[in-house]
Amino acid sequence: MAFSAIIKAGLLCIPALIFLVPKSWKYLLTLILVLAGAVLTMIWSIPLLTDFTNTVGTKIIPLVSEGKLVLTIDRLSAFFIFVINLTVITGILYAYGYLKPYRNSKSNIQLSIHYFSYLLLHYSMLLVVMLRDGLAFLIAWEIMAVSSFALVIFDAEDKATLKTGIRYLVQMHIGMFFLLMAFLIAGKETGTVGFDSVGTYFSSHPNFGLFLLFFIGFGIKAGFLFLHTWLPDAHPAAPSHVSGVMSGVMIKMGIYGILRVVFQVQNDFLSIGLTILIVSILSGILGVMMAIMQHDIKRLLAYHSIENIGIIGIGTGLGVIGLAIQNPFLIITGFGGGLLHVLNHSLFKSLLFFSAGTVYQATHTRNIEHLGGLAKKMPWTALFFLIGSLAICGLPPFNGFISEYLIYIGMFRSLAHSSMYQSIILISTIVALSLIGGLAIFCFTKAFGIIFLGEARTTKADEATEARFTSILPQFIPVLFIISIGLLSAWFAQPVFSIVQEATPHPETIILTTPVLEDLRSINFAGGIFIGLVILILLYRQRHLKSRHIAYEPTWGCGYTAVTPKQQYTATSFVYNYNHLAKPLLQTRKIMEEIREDEIFPEKRTFVSHSEDLIRKYLADKPANWLLSLLKRIAAMQTGKIQHYILYAFLFMLLVLILTYLKIL
């Protein structure tokens, strides 16, 4: 017994070796440890995901020989384990090329901390989805927050990065506070703290209040609107492989938590479902609306995370509403679509962050207004970004469409027998989802077009070269999954449905999945036809053009011949008319100095247009500033003179005396 404890303790120390081995070995060691963790957890989880019979149940692995600390893996955990491992492995593979320039500039200890935190983030996320005990869960949750903080501040030499990191850390702990409160309230009744006691609490109390605490706690991590204020800063500040992992999987831990709680809810279904749905719709629409205004490529992607969390939330909310109105089809497609979108988003978002990172390394700028024409210089990166863009817009035959389709079809099918209120909810959600799709297309045609197409706008973009194959190759992993989910959807949808079946036992759901899987096969067939048509037309085109005269000329300038790259449409001009429409919501400001009348020879001027995140301004910045100024005023008492402090003590004693005399104390 003691011997196995020693082995376990020894295993725990292996990650610390990262600090001891020489610089060039650190990466390899991290890679091996990430893979080891992934292989171990996949061995546990894959059987749960591939067996669709209802008898699989959960797998329990005791961590310590005596005591209650166990790892519990059910299908939901298994699914998230798969998502985590996939993106974390891609991330570490991509990191090899991405961190290469830093290998000389960063010190030994900085690199050690970075790799160690990466490993810690991976393991803590795995633990988060496997631990059911409240205290252990919160510890894993905390390790996740701290390790990701260490990853975000990799460029801590930059003051802004450090500030962003601290802001992130503070907000994570606000979320932590809500979670702690929620767990303690649930645990007060049963005596134990954990997800199991949440279920016990739910069976004997109104559910909405406790759910709301959990929703805020987990929602801050997930980045739902109103709780997202850390997100648009933290993603751009972090190195790209970290942003990919954070946006791809870490924020999904919030979704995991919400699902874990939602699956135990016993009453108040409608109010809970509506809360999730409304917040998600707002996240989806406002997330993408704010994303359109961003010119920092990684910030743009960060806002898209809010949008996609919204889509996942829409699915989840619909699932809960399905539970409320006893509509098994809505349950299975709502939860199923939401869950599949978790996987889909982790794939295309990490891919987009990786390719954006490659662009950043090649051009040293994240401002898309300085880019342009990169498709010719970086063809692979352009291809990856394009695939990511098409998938994130939910366009067939890529994976984003499949999950959005599931959410859509659940709503459309439920409309037939719905009451007035239900149909209004459903149809509004349909409109929201279609609008999100349209806005996403607007945003990504802009992003892809301005970054990769046309002519280079600056010399930085002009001198860019394609990244080395070490950065290119890992990106094929998400691409492969994006395409296979798009074309072999049923394979991926079936495990997802079985998760929902396990979590929400509803006898009808098993029968209902068969036609949906059949429809998914039709979609894949149609996707195949589309690809076939494209290939056919392109082949014919090639044959046709061979026999024709082909000439190459400059772009037609409508008669104007002295065209320069600066005259191209910019990102700002692309969003001009949109901006006009969205102004009341987005508050774009122009900072410029008008030319005065008496200025005969105007001086050099700058023009900056800036869009503000109103929610962040009023929900985070303003209260924080108010608190700061209040504290500063109180700090005036701290004079540093001993006489004053004695006076304070005297006044305090006087106060106590008076209060005792008045029998208040």
Binding site: G373, A375, L390, G394, L395, P396, Y405, I409, M411, F412, R413, L415, S418, S419, M420, S423, I430, V431, L433, S434, L435, G437, G438, L439, I441, F442, T445, G449, I450, L453, G454, E455, D519, S522, A526, I529, F530, V534, L536, L538, R541, L545, R548, H549, I550, A551, Y552, E553, T555, W556, G557, C558, V563, P565, Q567, Y569, S573, F574, N577, L581
Partner: protein
């Protein structure tokens, strides 16, 4: 017989643009070309060589093919009366809408690939206006799904008039109106865009394809004709009860296509183009009409109150 739909789409695409052209020429008192002139133009384009801008790359080369393929693929989903579509499944109209959006995505980025500010302007407008249009189609299809209880083009159209409720006629009319308007905006016709305008600054679709020539331009033109035909056939399906016999249906089909083309031609002859910044309001109105259709369904289905 499931291929009736796709054959009808091609038929409609064949005559539609010519009739519009002919109507416009008659309305303006010109002698005008024959109704197959658009296809003669295409055959001329096919004979020509191509000029590519040196700025452009692969995207520009493949985009017209992808756009056309997306529209051809969309044609597989259109039924013809009671003869179902070639591919039909629950929610096929979602795929229909999104595959068209995919084609649009490529035509937008192809325009941006030229690096021309004019084409960027067109790309922006196309993206912006179609984004505003997106909800209209989905509200309408949702109302259909609600009214009939079915969720595929084929099932919806077969069951549309089966309920025997005459108020469905109002609903059908609203649906036809929305489809027609959607077709006009999607194809960049008046009053949102004027395909025959001569100033690049005021174009939407035409300005996006300034640099396309030869084979690619032929593909783009074919795509526009096909797109009109897709919506024309949707309108036909909505207007004609599938219970009617095949000859009657074919006759109705031809009449409806001709009437639609004439209406489009007349609108284009007698209406001025909207001011560009009024377009968002105009397009959002289409969604407004779709909302009315939804309310009609609530009324027809007697779903108020409960």
């Amino acid at each position: 017989m499931n291929s009736a739909g796709i054959i009808a789409v091609f038929m409609a695409a064949l005559i539609f643009p010519g009739i519009i052209l002919r109507t416009k020429s008659i309305a303006s008192g010109r002698k005008g070309p024959g109704i197959f002139q658009p296809y003669k133009d295409i055959s001329v384009l096919l004979k020509k060589g191509s000029i590519f801008s040196t700025t452009t790359g692969t995207i520009f080369q493949i985009a017209p093919a992808i756009t056309l393929a997306s529209l051809l693929c969309a044609a597989f989903f259109i039924p013809f009366g009671k003869y179902g579509a070639l591919i039909s499944f629950d929610g096929d109209f979602i795929f229909f809408s999104y595959i068209i959006a995919l084609g649009r995505f490529f035509s937008i980025i192809a325009a941006l690939d030229t690096g021309s500010s004019f084409e960027g302007m067109g790309a922006n407008r196309e993206a912006f206006f179609s984004m505003l249009l997106e909800p209209a189609f989905f509200i309408l299809m949702a109302s259909f799904a609600m009214a009939t209880g079915y969720t595929s083009f084929t099932d919806i159209f077969i069951n549309f008039y089966l309920s025997g409720n005459n108020f469905m006629l109002i609903f059908g009319l609203l649906g036809i109106f929305v489809f027609l308007q959607t077709a006009m905006v999607e194809n960049c016709r008046l009053p949102v865009d004027d395909p025959k305008t001569h100033l690049e600054l005021t174009m939407i679709h035409e300005v996006m394809i300034l640099d396309n020539s030869g084979f690619d331009k032929a593909l783009i033109h074919l795509g526009t004709y096909l797109k009109f035909a897709l919506y024309g056939l949707l309108i036909f399906n909505l207007a004609v009860p599938p219970a009617w016999t095949l000859p009657v249906q074919i006759a109705c089909f031809l009449v409806i296509q001709v009437v639609l083309a004439v209406i489009v031609g007349l609108i284009e002859s007698f209406r001025a183009r909207n001011k560009m910044n009024k377009n968002p309001k105009y397009i959002l109105t289409i969604s407004g009409v779709a909302w009315i259709a939804f309310i009609v369904i609530l009324l027809v289905g007697e779903r108020f109150i409960n």
